[in-house]
Subunit: 345 residues, 2 copies
């Protein structure tokens, strides 16, 4: 399978290391051999290859601040769009950062790839929040797969869980702690650290969004809530539909006073069916420290699904890091490979 | 699809109600029409049908203490074994109660059905704990499916989660609150109720095993731990391998004293990789009330999987009832139908 990368940041590079390390296992256990035909980056050049790009060389090059055009047997490409229009990849990994104003240019990247009959895996939640219906139809029309498990809760199965493991059941609503940065900040503040110290800790761990205000203001959680509602509940919602309140106004004193009544604060994303359709919200909520949401500390995420036939079911991701987002790309890749090889039989 | 029931207790009857209610949806959404050709029970007779047995009549008959042979167009069958050898079902639902001394007669029922090329769905954990390797091979050999999602955590995806949603990842160990009866008892005792009162409450809710000692002594959790280890970790383990301690020795005072240090007690099933293979245990453990396990109260179950690529991932089932176990049968049925129809294309 020929693969290409659009975006080659932390997540894509962690994924590149995994598929390099597991090369033998992928070949033997899954009958899958990968060859990298192109990489597009914003600050380190964009290239396609006459052969196959050595991923470990590419990772080292970018991490040393170099330009990919220096790698052997590569041809420089002017921009991502030309790369997508010209490359012969079977699958692209789209991992550019979230743009909360419409999801571009990721939506265009994905549209171009799908139209050319290329499978797409993305870890960028923007396209799912802003253009899910269109991209899903496009994928169906061109008989390719469009997968995005990493957009919510990293590699923890959320979309695949409902698709593969809850057949015949309906998602009626959900609630969740979906943003690691704000959860880490609230947990740190519980122990008396200031907001600023706690934010710095999140940045030190490399989990904060490129623009940390997107986390603090609840935008990241709101975009994830919309992605979940669009895919799991056919909501056809838009990030602007979310009643959104961030954590900027929360003080150490608020948390102390909650603690006196056995509670704490969590930034909760919710979707509820109402008479006027699906209502989405993101807001700090008071939760008992002995509740499931109260038990989610640090970078941990929790999603509680409310279903018709299976009652309430939650998935918890315990203290994830970039490796877990990288795993989402692997899981999507293997799912595509699985249905791809099945359909060829 | 022609189906048959071996065992027609609470779970099977709740499932029968679901498939009757959702008849139209199953036909339209999944292109699945079910026809019941046989039902075997221990105390209400065993029958096969010349036509299709009306499930709602059968449910009513059993719930009124009647004998299935009274139903129209049925032929009485002497015993389950003859029924399995003679019926022309495509799929059987095996829901006889757990026998912790070897898993019989369920193992024999399943063996007979698989050998005859009949798909099997079971909610009985005995066969998975005592004969998984053999039954899995038998299913492969006869090109039929053998599914058992309901054996651990009811319809919450556990086996399907790892099979479908964690491709390429390895389960290195697990820990979980897997027995609802003991968890309800411990939760009730936290609030000061006596052991006996709490056990009665579990029995009143209909969640205790037929023999409640199997719950109290940790047998149910041990058999589930073995089922998980056999399927998810290829442990080839046996219930006798589990270091097992139940909750009979726990007093309200123990819980009070744990509570003074912000803790509580939970019956935890564990699997750990060690140099001498996979070590399995079931024992009451002290857990912080603010931990994930501490947050599991009442009949709730939690399973925390430790994996190589996806880190720690938990699934939580919030206060399930018999409907959630019945959903497991539906989920297995739909999964079989899905791969069945795919392979026919």
């Amino acid at each position: 399978m020929k693969i290409a990368f659009v975006g080659f940041g932390n997540v894509a590079r962690a994924f590149a290391r995994i598929i390099d390390e597991r090369r033998t296992e992928l070949a033997h256990r899954f009958d899958l051999t990968l060859s990298t035909v192109a990489i597009a980056t914003a600050n380190h050049g964009s290239v396609r290859s006459t052969d196959s790009i050595d991923l470990i060389n590419a990772v080292a090059c970018v991490e040393q601040g170099g330009n990919l055009t220096r790698l052997p047997q590569t041809i420089p490409i002017a921009d991502t769009q030309s790369l997508l229009e010209g490359c012969d990849a079977d699958l692209i990994f789209e991992t550019t950062p979230l743009n909360i104003e419409g999801g571009q240019p990721a939506v265009t990247h994905i549209r171009t790839a799908l139209r050319r009959g290329i499978h797409v895996v993305t870890a960028n939640k923007g396209p799912i929040a802003f253009a899910y219906e269109e991209l899903r139809s496009l994928a169906q029309e061109h008989e390719v797969e469009f997968r995005f498990e990493g957009t919510v809760m990293d590699g923890a199965p959320v979309f695949n869980l409902v698709e593969s493991c809850l057949p015949g059941a309906r998602v009626l609503g959900f609630s969740g702690v979906l943003n690691s940065t704000t959860n880490l900040i609230l947990t740190e503040m519980e122990s008396g650290h200031s907001f600023e110290e706690s934010l710095k800790e999140a940045q030190r761990l490399g989990i904060a969004e490129t623009n940390a205000e997107h986390d603090i203001d609840g935008w990241d959680a709101a975009v994830k809530a919309v992605a979940l509602a669009n895919v799991l509940m056919n909501a056809n919602a838009h990030p602007a539909d979310v009643a959104r309140e961030g954590i900027a106004g929360i003080t150490v004193e608020n948390l102390k006073s909650a603690s006196e009544s056995g509670s704490t604060l969590r930034l909760i994303a919710r979707a509820r069916l109402s008479e006027r359709g699906i209502r989405l919200s993101v807001a700090p909520e008071k939760m008992s420290v002995t509740s499931l949401f109260g038990s989610a500390r640090g970078t941990s995420n929790v999603l509680m699904l409310e279903t018709d036939l299976m009652g309430e079911l939650a998935i918890v991701e315990n203290n994830p890091g970039v490796e877990q987002t990288a795993y989402a790309l692997l899981s999507d890749l293997l799912n595509i490979h699985r249905s791809f090889s099945r359909s060829k039989k």
